[in-house]
Symmetry: C2
Subunit: 294 residues, 2 copies
């Protein structure tokens, strides 16, 4: 049972954690924190939080669990603001989509890597934002990756694991670097392609007509291009090296595919498409059906 | 009212047209044609067709409407096989995803461009195949593009238009070249990216793990990679010039985006992502919600 949960950033991710823990009866008190008034008032009204403050130091006072769910670019200042205000038994965790940057930000803000920091990432989401988009079931049967650092104490990791399990999630652990590589491939790269494609079409002459003849396949393919631009800017900056490497390697492969098409090499095309279909049918169909932006 | 409809290729596209026209009461007799026995027997059993033959010449005998719905690579032989067997008042149309190749195939097979040929393309589909995947509602509120050639007689175009409208579709006309450009952008290019991405991930070491951490956004993004590899090989070969040009231009843009990410230029990234989100929210959301592979 969590005594006091401080949620810094009561949006889709933070709000859904608060709702899920409340629903599970695993938390006594929830304090929200953010910059704006409207979203926090809404969170109060919806019963997602019990009170709020705009002051991070105040929010974490007495909290045994601190959850950061702000865009990655806001993590460093948030860590700095909680310094000196944390309770003895506080555990700090987060939901950021990239992990090396969060670890670096914590180290910079605290002057050392706190032993009670458990970086984390729920592989769940939608393309909507704010507390009104949050719901208690978001994490049910979804994966959460924890990336404890070399200084993280096992007890802190165990408490964060228990928190996510109470929300119905399946928790796994991996290194920070491995997380950032895997997520660059499965989430960050597809988002770049979807944003890039829609942007390219929007810049074409007659883009009105082009979108008019786009059917359902296009709609699904580009759904993730409706995601929050600020969040994704921050993901790109945070996971820049792994993502830019992967994106330029993929661009090179698409160039080769363009040459194969220009050459009319049907056998090679059939091989690529068959391998892809086989992999998708095997690995992806059969996963959860809920929509997500990650 | 169609007297006799010959459907060459009784799969998703051909089977759905047959079902829709039957449901609308707009056809008296439907003959199916294909290579295999199993699919045609199934079509008979489901009441999609009244009879079948493996001989295209026989199938079109006495038909006032001939619909070709075979993969693009099979169009030329199909045209050649119907030569000399067509009724006086026959109109020929097709559902191929690319149009210049169909026109060239017809010209090659008949020795000239038939005046009763109305090339067409329903912008509707799913990633499943065969007559069992077909359904009468596939074309309801979907767009169908007709690309009559300079030799097509207006009466033939009018009859094909009336046929699709009876299925609930919205029909528009454009030039062959324009069709192939627009569809390269909205359908063929996204399919290449989805097939290419899944194939790239499948070839990575630890691909098992990579797919394990792929969530709902990935599932939607890659749905079209479960499409029929033979159909898509044929689309690539048929629309090679337009598609390869567009794919390599897109690869170049992705290379530039990779550099922007490597440089950490957040302002530029935010601009691209915001423009894309704005375009998708405006143009795509609010379209039909049905899934499609096109
Ligand atoms: N969306 C997804 O699919 C998804 C999935 C997994 C992980 N994540 C990660 O989860 C985190 C939150 O994403 P989200 O989707 O929940 O976004 P969200 O719905 O927009 O919520 C973010 C919250 O943080 C607050 N905030 C924004 N900028 C801030 C700043 N500069 N300083 C302090 N607070 C700020 C906002 O409230 P105020 O504007 O009132 O400050 C807002 O309520 C991000 O790190 C993201 O990478 C997202
Ligand atoms: N799927 C889509 O989303 C979609 C959307 C719009 C347009 N299209 C176009 O529609 C056409 C048909 O696609 P579909 O999705 O309906 O495919 P499908 O379900 O696989 O049906 C194709 C049919 O054509 C027959 N066929 C296959 N190869 C043949 C060959 N070499 N010679 C003669 N018959 C052959 C097959 O029967 P047998 O094996 O028994 O011969 C099969 O029943 C394609 O030109 C495609 O570009 C597809």
């Amino acid at each position: 049972m969590i005594r006091k949960l401080a949620v810094i950033g009561v949006g889709l991710i933070g709000g859904s954690l608060a709702r899920a823990l409340r629903k599970a009866g695993e938390v006594r008190e929830i304090v929200g924190c953010g910059r704006g008034k409207a979203n926090l008032e809404k969170a109060l009204e919806l019963g997602v939080i019990d009170s709020y403050t705009h002051d991070i130091g105040e929010a974490v006072e007495g909290a045994d669990m601190v959850f950061l769910a702000v865009p990655l670019g806001a993590m460093k200042d948030a860590f700095a603001a909680m310094k000196g205000h944390l309770a003895e038994d506080a555990v700090i965790t987060d939901g950021g989509s990239s992990k090396a940057s969060v670890v670096a930000d914590a180290e910079a803000a605290f002057g050392e890597l706190p032993s009670n920091l458990v970086p984390g990432h729920p592989i769940a989401g939608t393309e909507r934002n704010g507390v009104e988009a949050s719901f208690a079931e978001l994490y049910e049967d979804r994966r959460v990756i924890l990336t404890p650092t070399e200084t993280t104490v096992p007890e802190a990791t165990a408490r964060v694991r228990a928190m996510w399990e109470a929300c119905g999630a399946e928790v796994s652990e991996m290194s920070v670097e491995h997380h950032d590589e895997v997520l660059a491939a499965t989430s960050h790269l597809p988002h770049m392609l979807a944003f890039g494609l829609v942007d390219a079409l929007a810049r074409m002459k007659e883009n009105d007509e082009i979108f008019r003849y786009a059917a359902g396949g296009f709609r699904d393919f580009t759904r993730i291009a409706s995601s929050n631009p600020i969040m994704w800017r921050d993901v790109c900056v945070a996971n820049g090296p792994a993502l830019s490497r992967m994106l330029s390697a993929f661009a090179e492969e698409m160039n080769e595919l363009a040459q194969t098409i220009a050459a009319g090499d049907g056998d090679h095309l059939l091989e690529v498409f068959s391998r892809a279909k086989e992999a998708r049918d095997r690995y992806v169909d059969g996963l959860q059906t809920e929509q997500s932006s990650e």
